[in-house]
């Protein structure tokens, strides 16, 4: 039973890890969590759905359009709403992300309604692959692989490319980045674009597992947030590990303690981490910006 639980945990954890990574990338830039992350991804998933069902395009095209849309939505959110604020205090920024999420949720409800829709996907959630005693759906295998590969690419990008390193520099000190010739404003916009794309991949993998409606990413956003707090809000690697850890812990709890209270686990974890290690399991102590 244990390997089976771990496999389910890993699959759920992949989604949490993606959401946690998306949150942390913009958190490191603005120092506030983007609460609109989930609904930005939800709307992007609806865009894919619209292309698949209304326009009857192929999967690759529809998902491609959704990812491009997500990227522009992220860049636009930063450039048109966040950056124009007169007083970009932390509280005001948070309020703006909450306002944006309400607007997106309202828009999705108006445009697509609250019905739970079947989301067409090239990989089945019902087909099962067996690895010894473990049976796992092809969708879960795909989720684990796609999330893993995407996150690896993101890390390679941040670590080894010129733009990625400049992005980290901008996160640490935007003015210092600018005086070294980095177009810091564009770079900040780019972080929101990348983060939105990562969240949307999570949404595209979540929609076929459950169903598509405007609440698609509520759970994933909160779990991603819990995962990031668990791993450390200012360490991307930590946040991703936090995601996998949360997925596994949750499933262990569901299997051995109580299924009904499984969703309480994330909350308990937030409470415990904030009590005992506010910087997260893998986080260093928070450094204030100059």
């Amino acid at each position: 039973m244990l390997p089976q639980v771990l496999a389910s945990g890993l699959s759920a954890g992949s989604i949490y890890a993606l959401m946690a990574l998306a949150l942390v990338i913009t958190y490191k830039t603005t120092e506030v969590p983007n609460f609109a992350q989930g609904d930005m991804a939800m709307v992007s998933a609806f865009i894919a759905y619209m292309f698949l069902t209304d326009f009857e395009t192929g999967f690759i095209f529809a998902f491609g359009v959704a990812l491009v849309f997500a990227f522009l939505l992220g860049v636009g959110f930063e450039g048109l709403l966040l950056r124009r604020m007169r007083k970009p205090t932390h509280l005001n920024l948070i309020i703006m992300t909450l306002g944006f999420t309400l607007a997106l949720f309202g828009f999705a409800g108006w445009k697509w309604g609250a019905d739970q829709r079947h989301f067409p996907f090239p990989i089945s959630a019902n087909e099962v692959i067996r690895f010894g005693s473990v049976s796992i759906s092809t969708l879960s295998v795909a989720t684990i692989l796609i999330a893993g590969i995407l996150m690896l690419l993101v890390f390679v990008f941040f670590r080894f490319t010129k733009l990625g390193v400049a992005m980290q520099a901008t996160q640490q000190d935007p003015i210092a980045a600018r005086i070294n010739g980095v177009p810091a404003r564009a770079v900040v916009g780019l972080t929101f674009g990348i983060s939105s794309v990562i969240g949307t991949v999570a949404a595209l993998l979540t929609a076929p597992l459950i169903t598509l409606d405007p609440t698609l990413m509520w759970d994933a956003l909160l779990k991603g947030f819990a995962a990031a707090v668990l791993g450390g809000l200012n360490t991307p690697v930590g946040a991703v590990l936090g995601g996998y850890l949360l997925g596994v812990i949750e499933n262990l709890f569901g299997a051995y303690v109580s299924v009904e209270f499984k969703s309480v686990v994330a909350f308990l974890i937030i409470v415990i981490v904030l009590w005992f290690k506010p910087s997260g399991l893998f986080g260093r102590h928070h450094e204030r910006k100059v």
Partner: protein, 252 residues
């Protein structure tokens, strides 16, 4: 220095505001190619504001006046473009990226370099200048000592291959032996053909390496001339050197 030095940077009647505070009024100066020019002045005189204005870091400033670099207007231009035109900046407090490694810091410094080849050449040159940085290249920059961080900040500014280097109080907070080293490096950088505009409170040391000097007080230029004239100028001596030869709130 040659007889007809070319003007590299020209600041003309610049006025800069911080909100409702006028931090610079009617400041004009020229920096000749190949020189070291030093700006002296007490805390709060507007020295950093002047450098920030030149580099276009302050939103909507200068409010009045013009700044030209190599004959092209750069005031109100985006900082990235000013940097691209050939000006590098070692800001007050160094502002290295403490979470990145030494080498990554230098690579960010080379952001405007077009290809990997020129980046590599710039990196080799900086490592020649500061062998210590080569030794520490994989170390997180935050773990360097104050003096090493200053070397890194200077090295990072050189990565762009600038024609003009602005330095804001590079000796601040350093032990005397390191201060001397920093000034040696500044002369060396000039000898390699980079023009230097230096802000300092350490007037005596600065005037010893500089060709030209200016004194700022409450946002206004109160004295200007060759470095040797300024050393002889009793007023400057009284106003700035006397006070500054005392070790005022400077930790090392």
């Amino acid at each position: 220095m040659d007889k007809h030095p070319e003007v590299l940077l020209e600041v003309n009647a610049v006025e800069t505001w911080h909100g409702s505070l006028r931090a610079l009024s009617d400041v004009s100066l020229t920096v000749s190619e190949g020189s070291i020019t030093v700006i002296l002045g007490n805390n709060g005189a507007g020295k950093s504001t002047l450098l920030n204005t030149i580099l276009g870091v302050l939103e909507g400033q200068p409010k009045n006046g013009q700044i030209s670099f190599q004959g092209t207007r750069i005031d109100r231009m985006a900082t990235e473009r000013i940097v691209r035109s050939g000006i590098s900046y070692v800001p007050e407090g160094r502002r290295i990226f403490s979470g990145l490694t030494v080498r990554e810091n230098l690579k960010v410094g080379a952001y405007i370099q077009k290809d990997q080849f020129s980046t590599k050449k710039a990196l080799e040159r900086v490592y020649e200048f500061f062998p210590l940085l080569a030794e520490r290249q994989s170390q997180a920059a935050g773990t360097l000592s104050g003096g090493e961080q200053q070397m890194l900040a200077i090295g990072r500014a050189l990565m762009n291959g600038p024609r003009l280097l602005l330095l804001d109080e590079p000796s601040l907070g350093l032990a005397p032996i390191l201060v001397r080293q920093v000034f040696d490096i500044i002369s060396q950088i000039r000898d390699e053909g980079v023009t230097v505009l230096l802000v300092e409170q350490n007037a005596r040391m600065a005037l010893a390496v500089a060709d030209e000097g200016l004194v700022l007080d409450s946002g206004e230029l109160v004295a200007a001339g060759s470095a040797s004239d300024l050393v002889d100028n009793a007023e400057v001596e009284g106003l700035y050197m006397g006070a500054l030869s005392l070790p005022i709130n400077r930790e090392s």
